[in-house]
Amino acid sequence: MLKSHLRLALAVLQRRKVFTAISLFGIALTLLVLIVAGALLDNVFGAFPPEVHHDRTLLIFNVRMEGKNAQSTSPAGFGLLDRYARDLPGVERMAITSTMREAFSYQGGQKHRLYMKRTDAEYWRVLQFEFLEGAPFAEAEVEAGSRVAVLNRSTRERIFGDAPALGRDVEVDGVNYRVMGVVADVSMLRALPFSDVWVPHSAAKDQAYRKELGGDFWGLLLARDAAAFPQIQAEFRSRLQRIDLSAEPGFERILALPETLFASTSRMLFDTHDEAESRPERLVGVLGLLTLLFLGLPTINLVNLSVSRILERAPEIGVRKAFGASALSLVGQFVLENVVLTLLGGALALLAAPLVLAAINHSGLIPYAQLGLNLRTFGLGLGLAVFFGVLSGAYPAWRLARLHPVQALKGAAR
């Protein structure tokens, strides 16, 4: 029966070419937008190298200090991370990196705009970069405050041309750094590993940052496994409660929580820093709602088209009922038809998606974007197509299955 219905579905689509074309166009474009959005989200939150331990990494992004009349939210300070986030139980490694900052380099009479991060040596172990030249800086360089730097490939190309850069000097914001290594580019959508230049945090002119509670640093905690997360969070929270805030007049308590990338992002977007528990499901909810809102118009459109397409076949429904089709099997048949249609649209969208993604990658809108269709995005597209098909097929099918057989045979479908 399924096979026969499938054959019928294809036959119907083939014989109603205009309808099929219009429907396919709408479905394919709708799904294309969603697939591209999905690829973007996946690129922000998914697990890609160099973040190889994505599933067991916790991040400390922001800290919030609160008092009676004042509150301040900022990235964590180096001092806070250095003193209170080390040696947490269940944590294998802890790395500290500054937030990304714009910097300028004047080299060979030209000016380059760069993004720069200041990190410790552990950063290069928590994140597994692909080194094209040299090696990362290690504890020795960080302790000595050496002026050394790791560049990414595009920056090397911009500043030094195609030649190897190892051992050469690069000037950034008035300071000369010796190039120690060159890594492959990472998309700007990846908050943690993205940068153009990395230097030891200790290479700064002034060392006052070492004491700050709030500043411009992030902490990366590599947990033994995800099961250790609650324990890590509890211990960190209790350590924060013990901090003496007398040096920060006006503030009474300090809040920060190691969380997954998704949970931290959700917290930042909804500004729920005062809540102890993170609520990543909010972000999921908002994304879901946006998707549904966006799907609304195409769905009504497809329902309208389906209703007309199926209404035309009222006599067919009458005949099928006369020969013993139950309402349920008719609903199944028409939903299947729509699912086949949307799957075809989905296939078109999946064919077009790599082109659109490549166009975005080449547009330079997102530096070093490496958007691509992977299995997850593919699955998303497929799932969306089926969902969309069922959503838009159910209503017309339900309406038609309820048609009175005698009326249907007369073709009187209202």
Binding site: L8, R15, G318, G324, A325, V406
Partner: protein
């Protein structure tokens, strides 16, 4: 095989009630070939729809194959229609998007049956109506007579015990009509299928075992 007792059918709209059928008592024995005659709009088709369970009576009972049709729930009615009853319509009602063979397979589609067997049965039915060379045509590529023969093959494929024909020759010229009637008689005699046929044509009605006349929703004489 078919028993209607005191069946009444009333159509209600916002303002008017129309009595389509009233006080119908009718028994059709297994293997009988019954013609139903009467002027236009007298309720012939309504009667056929009631027997075929396409419509439910306003009151009265209908028995099919010895069992009363107790409830008119979609699922049970669908099964009865599928396994016991076959239909032939005046306007053929073939599905235009399906090839001839797929059209004939239709009643088998809603049974648990392998695709191969479905195919074999449908092919056999089409051979019997003499259309084995047209399996892959679309209905629109056939003449009216051929289309009605496909419709009969479709009704036969399910091997129903009751065949309901609503003016099966009404849209055909007399020669094609005779061909179709021949098929129905053949089916009645060889398979013992009970046939109830609505017709306007006295000549066709004479070929049935008996004729029921309906006038203004009432049964006139046997």
């Amino acid at each position: 095989m078919i028993r209607l007792a005191n069946v009444e059918k009333v159509y209600r709209t916002d303002r008017i009630e129309t009595v389509a059928l009233s006080q119908i008592d009718l028994t059709v024995a297994a293997g009988e070939f019954v013609a139903v005659m009467g002027p236009s709009g007298c309720g012939k088709s309504t009667l056929l729809n009631l027997i075929g369970l396409l419509d439910a009576p306003s009151s009265g009972t209908i028995e099919l194959a010895g069992k009363p049709v107790a409830s008119y729930r979609d699922r049970e009615v669908s099964r009865l229609r599928n396994q016991t009853i076959g239909f032939v319509f005046q306007t053929f009602h073939l599905i235009p998007d399906l090839r001839v063979l797929d059209n004939v397979e239709l009643p088998l589609l809603y049974r648990k049956m392998s695709g191969a067997e479905r195919r074999a049965r449908a092919t056999r039915a089409l051979e019997r109506v003499g259309l084995s060379s047209r399996l892959q045509h679309f209905p629109s590529q056939l003449s009216g007579g051929q289309q009605q023969r496909v419709a009969i093959a479709r009704a036969m494929a399910g091997e129903p015990r009751i065949l309901l024909a609503d003016e099966p020759t009404g849209n055909l010229d007399s020669q094609m009509g005779d061909e179709v009637m021949g098929l129905l008689e053949d089916l009645n005699q060889k398979e013992g299928t009970t046939i109830v046929m609505v017709t306007h044509d006295q000549r066709q009605a004479d070929k049935a075992h008996r004729t029921i006349r309906i006038f203004d929703g009432r049964q006139v004489a046997c």
